[in-house]
């Protein structure tokens, strides 16, 4: 069994991997759904767009489910505090996601254009709302969230829903939304041809520009005007997970500390620029599979940049900084982390293997002819 501090750091990385897995896998079908009303004109085109992700959206959504469950298992306090504190934001994500399964599965089961158009907008909501809210949530993590614990470790969130919607957090929502939509566009460019492909290419250009602008502004804002958090007491990384009792201060520039300590981490934001620009260039050259890889790297860069800025913080408390949850004290026991590590190392490669197989089976462009031939079977 690995020692406890190592396990804690590994699980920080693994939660990051699961989050990136979610953003890359579920992200592209959310991006596709966000673009659906705009790149698909008329029912057949929209069905083409939907069927590029039709066989895969359900499997992709499990990255979200498993990410949530892994959070529960590995960081129970983070799961409990964040989900209860962000109550209405979480419900908004959940209720937006309600439109997904029914949107995909029920939309083409009735031959009414009103019905189908309604579900197209339902899919749009299910695809566009969650990334915005996740971005807003990340923005609030960087700002700190007002919560505290009592002596029995009952957490209380003392803010309101509306204060989550502050300008910086909304900007982070724009970063998240544009990276997911860019990703959806590069996937669509890969899986479609003709008019839809061209619209997807234009969307990719637009959203990559938007991503880079929003990401740059957020970065400058974070570096210049947002206080980070730093632990000032000594931390014993092998101690049992107990977030109460440390001292934490808020200070300007604290979120840049890790970049100074480990300059190589500066490559993470660079990855965002490289990925977004390469994505557009590669689509232009018709190398759409590589473009999809590039947009995946841009997503990886955005998430890793945020995580690296905050390490070891996971959920800083703005009202009682000492109650902030960190990699060291918001985690499960050593035994649980060990078992979950073994399970993850065994199953993630298996999942990647059969998911790739599923994509290979369904590979190729989705066309109007395919929709006509599969009128009763396709979405």
């Amino acid at each position: 069994m690995l020692d406890y501090p190592t396990l804690k750091v590994i699980w920080w990385l693994l939660i990051g991997v699961l989050l990136i897995g979610f953003a890359v896998m579920d992200g592209h079908d959310m991006g596709v759904a966000t673009l659906l009303p705009f790149v698909g004109r008329g029912d057949t085109e929209r069905r083409v767009v939907i069927n590029t992700v039709g066989p895969h959206w359900d499997g992709n959504q499990v990255w979200f489910v498993t990410g949530g469950a892994a959070l529960f298992a590995a960081w129970p306090l983070v799961y409990a505090t964040a989900f209860s504190g962000f109550y209405w934001a979480m419900l908004a994500v959940l209720w937006a996601l309600f439109f997904r399964p029914a949107g995909f599965d029920y939309r083409s089961k009735l031959d009414s254009s009103t019905w189908r158009r309604a579900w197209d907008w339902g899919l749009f909501v299910a695809g566009s709302v969650p990334p915005i809210i996740f971005g807003v949530a990340f923005g609030n993590l960087l700002l700190g969230v007002p919560f505290s614990f009592d002596g029995n470790m009952v957490s209380t969130y003392t803010g309101s829903f509306w204060q989550l919607l502050n300008p910086f957090a909304l900007l982070c929502g724009a970063v998240s939304s544009s990276m997911i939509t860019l990703h959806g566009a590069s996937y669509l460019a890969h899986r479609t041809e003709g008019a839809i492909h061209d619209r997807a290419r234009r969307a990719a250009r637009f959203f990559s520009a938007l991503l880079l602008i929003a990401f740059s502004v957020a970065g400058i804002w974070l570096a210049s005007a947002i206080d980070g958090y730093a632990i000032t007491s000594t931390i014993d990384p092998s101690a049992p997970a107990n977030p109460i009792g440390k001292t934490v201060i808020r200070e300007a520039g604290a979120w840049l500390g890790n970049y100074r300590k480990a300059p190589l981490t500066l490559l993470l934001p660079v990855l965002v620029y490289a990925g977004a620009l390469a994505c557009v260039a590669l689509i232009g050259r018709g190398r759409t599979a590589l473009a999809f890889l590039a947009s995946s790297l841009a997503i990886t860069g955005v998430i890793a940049t945020a995580a690296a800025s905050m390490f070891p913080f996971v959920l800083p408390s703005s009202s009682v900084p000492g109650a902030s949850l960190t990699v060291w004290d918001g985690v499960s026991s050593r035994l649980t982390l060990s078992i979950m590590l073994v399970a993850t190392l065994i199953f993630i490669p298996i999942i990647i293997f059969y998911t790739s197989w599923a994509y290979r089976v369904m590979a190729g462009k989705v066309t109007a002819a395919y929709i006509r031939e599969n009128d009763h079977g396709a979405y």
Partner: protein, 524 residues
């Protein structure tokens, strides 16, 4: 500690969303194996009609599955949003099975369900069958992990309380995995799911036969469903939940309540077939009892006793009194972890900590506990008898009715030369709602029966909730009820529409009710 009102509303929301989720899950669990059976016959015989059966019933399966996915998401969110203290207190143990479910089961079923629907033309027959089998395995493994988690709530093994982290922590993963309670629950629940799937196919096929349409298709579907249903109904009854009733105290308490058994009966205990639970007097009036039966079922022996409500309450009283010391010494340890006297006292009373916490519902400090508070806590440890007694009997009665139906349907399918009797077909149609009613009351027996605990003997329900405003709870309950009502109306509408249209909806040209030409051409 949450206010009573907050706790009630949080429970109501969980009950509504869980019962609603459980409308879709059993059908998924069972129908997926019927699809495997039908497709296997197709692969072995090459008869297209079996492929059509797989595809048509698969279509209905998909309509149901979509809402199963939708409502399952709620369940995962809800532990965090509304049961934050629960999530903190037991997440170290309870979170792991949920994560395993995702990694081992949910990915499998969700990835392969895509290929099940879209892969017909891209996979060989055997490959496609393999996809269907993997989807079925994933679905059922999913149930296994969820019931391992739920089994732990009923019978928490393999974990201990850590005073430094103020939560339960895992000590023995294998004990959680092979929790006998979880195993019994798994067998019972998936069998109930198989019954649901079989009843669904049996009823709708019976309707086609009554209408005398798509007869070959319906007869074959009827036969598969009758055979599968008979085996499943036997399994749900024989291997049922009752084998688990002596596993832990939670199950003993449930057994006493659902038997309206206030006093311990001499071994081997008799079984109350029916009666009228009289809660005020603490006895069952007009009870018809069958000697020996309960003892045999409950303990698989003739000499072990099954405790009654009075005995269970007295046992719990002692634990509550001991629990007061556990809560007190824990508080002392939280302020000074080096306090040796507190440590010794805590270790002595640790196993009763949860029972001490029951008092927190009635009194803020353990120093102010009165005899009245203790009595209230003792009385709260056994759920109300009447709801348990009646819901259990509804479930069992429906199970036997379904068993009889499946047995006769199966017998009827053996009479190759004769058509099914119309009364049998009508009965089969009428019984369509039965498995859902049984499943919902079964959920009620299991979860209401565990009250006042979320984790039996460890964490009381009233401590488990998130700190939320009452207004938030009303808002979210209204939202869930609104969304779920609309979704249910849509789902049932589509289900009825496609069931009415029948296999003609495949557009293969081989069945009645083929879609009109404009539909095949007009969709684009």
């Amino acid at each position: 500690m949450g206010s009573e009102h907050l706790v009630e509303l949080s429970r109501l929301q969980f009950a509504v969303t869980a019962l609603y989720h459980f409308l879709f899950v059993p059908l998924t669990l069972g129908m997926v194996w019927l699809l495997v059976v039908m497709e296997s016959v197709f692969v072995m015989t090459g008869k297209t009609i079996y492929q059509d059966m797989t595809r048509f019933w698969g279509k209905l399966f998909g309509i149901n599955f979509a809402l199963g996915v939708t409502t399952g998401l709620t369940m995962e969110f809800q532990f965090g949003t509304n049961w934050a203290y629960y999530s903190h207190y037991v997440g170290d143990v309870f979170g792991a099975p949920l994560a395993f479910e995702g990694l081992m089961a949910f990915f499998l079923e969700s990835t392969f369900i895509g290929l099940f629907f879209f892969g017909w033309d891209r996979l060989s027959k055997v490959q496609h069958l393999m996809v269907t089998v993997l989807m079925a395995v994933g679905t059922n493994l999913s149930a296994l992990w969820i019931l391992i988690a739920n089994g732990w709530m009923q019978h928490p093994v393999g974990a201990t309380f850590n005073t430094a982290t103020m939560r339960m922590e895992l000590t023995d993963f294998w004990a959680v995995l092979f929790n006998p309670d979880a195993q019994a629950k798994f067998v019972h629940t998936v069998s109930a799911g198989y019954v649901t799937g079989a009843m669904f196919v049996l009823s709708i096929s019976a309707w086609y036969l009554l209408k005398n349409r798509d007869v070959e298709f319906a007869k074959r579907s009827f036969r598969v469903a009758a055979a599968f249903g008979l085996a499943s109904a036997l399994s749900v009854i024989v291997l049922g939940d009752e084998s688990g009733y002596t596993v832990g105290e939670a199950q003993q308490t449930k057994m006493a309540a659902l038997e309206a058994m206030w006093d311990t009966r001499p071994a081997p205990a008799s079984l109350t077939l029916i009666g009228w639970p009289n809660e005020a007097q603490g006895r069952a009036d007009w009870a018809i009892e069958i000697p020996w039966l309960l003892g045999l079922i409950g303990t698989r022996s003739v000499d072990r006793e099954i405790p009654g409500i009075h005995q269970i309450k007295e046992r719990n009283r002692a634990r509550i009194v001991s629990g007061i010391d556990a809560v007190r010494s824990l508080a002392a340890l939280r302020s000074d972890p080096t306090d040796a006297a507190a440590r010794a006292s805590f270790e002595q009373h640790k196993s009763d900590l949860g029972f001490g916490l029951l008092l927190r519902r009635y009194v803020a400090s353990m120093d102010d506990v009165t005899a009245g508070d203790i009595q209230k806590a003792v009385d709260s440890t056994v759920p109300r008898v009447a709801p348990m007694f009646w819901s259990f009997r509804v479930m069992v009665a429906l199970a036997f009715l379904m068993l009889a139906l499946f047995a006769m349907s199966f017998w009827s399918t053996l009479q190759v030369e004769r058509a099914h009797k119309p009364w049998l077909l009508k009965w089969a149609l009428l019984m369509l709602p039965a498995p859902w009613i049984a499943a919902e009351v079964g959920w009620f027996v299991a979860e209401y029966g565990r009250q006042p605990w979320t984790i039996y003997g460890v964490l009381p329900t009233h401590l488990s909730v998130s700190t939320q405003s009452i207004g938030s709870l009303y808002g979210s309950i209204a939202g869930f009820v609104g969304f779920y009502t609309v979704l249910l109306v849509i789902e049932v509408y589509l289900m009825i529409r496609y069931a009415r249209q029948g296999p003609g909806s495949l557009g293969s040209g081989r069945y009645a009710n083929e879609p009109p030409a404009h539909l095949s051409a007009g969709a684009h």
